[in-house]
Symmetry: C2
Amino acid sequence: MNKLFLLAAAPLLLAAQTPETPQSPAGIVAATTAEDWRPIASHNLLVMTLESGSEIFIELAPSFAPIHVANIRRLAGEGWYDGISINRVQDNYVVQWGDASGAKPLPEGVETEPPAEYEFPMEEVWLSAFSSVQQNNYEPISGYLAGWPVGHGPREDGRRSGTLVHCYGMVGVGRGDDPDTGTGAELYTVIGHAPRHLDRNIALVGRVVEGIEHLSSLPRGTGPLGFYEEEAQRVPIVSVRLASQLPEAEQPRFEVMRSDTEAFRAYVNARANRTGWFVRPAGAVDVCNVNLPIRRAADG
Amino acid sequence: MNKLFLLAAAPLLLAAQTPETPQSPAGIVAATTAEDWRPIASHNLLVMTLESGSEIFIELAPSFAPIHVANIRRLAGEGWYDGISINRVQDNYVVQWGDASGAKPLPEGVETEPPAEYEFPMEEVWLSAFSSVQQNNYEPISGYLAGWPVGHGPREDGRRSGTLVHCYGMVGVGRGDDPDTGTGAELYTVIGHAPRHLDRNIALVGRVVEGIEHLSSLPRGTGPLGFYEEEAQRVPIVSVRLASQLPEAEQPRFEVMRSDTEAFRAYVNARANRTGWFVRPAGAVDVCNVNLPIRRAADG
């Protein structure tokens, strides 16, 4: 049994490989230098603690959804998320958390009708930093921008428009039927195959960088859309804090592999052309199957 | 909170819609007739029962991997799977079950070195029944064939070759480093974003049609590749039976939406062009995001 799916063994063999041998993704990561990584700033990192003590760490994406992220920082800073709960776990789709009562007043300073930050103009400076991964026919170019999964293409107004992509672990802002009704008080993360139909329809604001297994392994809700039917099934959230709110010595530190480097391109190529156990490399990789390396920093 | 993600409400509005209004996927399913479905034969249906009493139902795909499926039928028929366990749960990847001891002898009649049934020739009769869904650049044409997610394209020998696709819930046969070492005694199912790099590298033999939440919500293994590190963490499997082994009155009955019908094409189109809550339809849908309807038969 333990011979099966022996992918992890490949990196151990790298030392013995000649330079001509294609490298494994893990081998490429092991050979990176400090310049291939960027740290996650403490004001862009949420720490969500469940009643069980489990912690989930979320990187925010202020460059893509600045007003929604400002709301989330405000909500975390005021302790508004403390005591809310996970209310929805829909298999192969999302885990969602918020105030189940719907009655908790928002703190002052939260924008209650933020604009629909679902797309952004792909200006030249962004295009120059974009690393393409794979094309498909409804998101003409998919790839990575500043370490985030992004699709971009021509839009009605003739400009190019980009959008964050709903890959596994991405975090978004629940909203009602009007596109401007999501404040950031209700959040979800993807726990299944990328629901790309949500792209450009809802604000993505970040991604889980560690601990998603504490969400993805929760019992599925049996009500419509995977909502828990009984109050007792809801999973209490003790607190959500920005890492910057914590004493400096206690701040968790993560770093993300940069996506504008030679190492990243080699990594994507290796993910597209797997070796070892594989008999037929795919030759390409879905933007949501890149699995961008994110790790604890040495002092994290 | 319960206003958010209000997708389920759309079908209820269908009666009031004019014919010009695009239909929702659920509305199309509701309007199907008996001819739009095919039953799952009892000798193609596995019933896996966990110690908790939870049941997982798996449809086998003998047309695509006949020798592996013959092995699995034999193993189920002989009760070989009874008492094995789930040993691996890797987040955003697979749940895998088998004989953790590796010492349980296989029953007579099991092909111990089956051929690599990872691809099949797309003969004209198959091509004529194939419903395309979306193109991407490494599986030139993706779609559905006989109700199964399939990709096909030109291969080295000039013929077209097809393969089952590793969508969420698909079931495959674990193997070692040699492509012919998977008997069917060790099985896995996908619980994350489709790992398309496994396509054409391992035998897919079926899919979970009900109960995958009992697998996808299991605690993740903390060992390499998500294997459980302690014996006590393994999840005992009480039994795996073919439905045809059960008394007829107790046989569960499922039916799968046919993929060579006008209803299927309308369903795919509706999945690609969602209405209601959505402000920007995607215009296309990933083969693994079609979510082919599978349901209990009226007498199931």
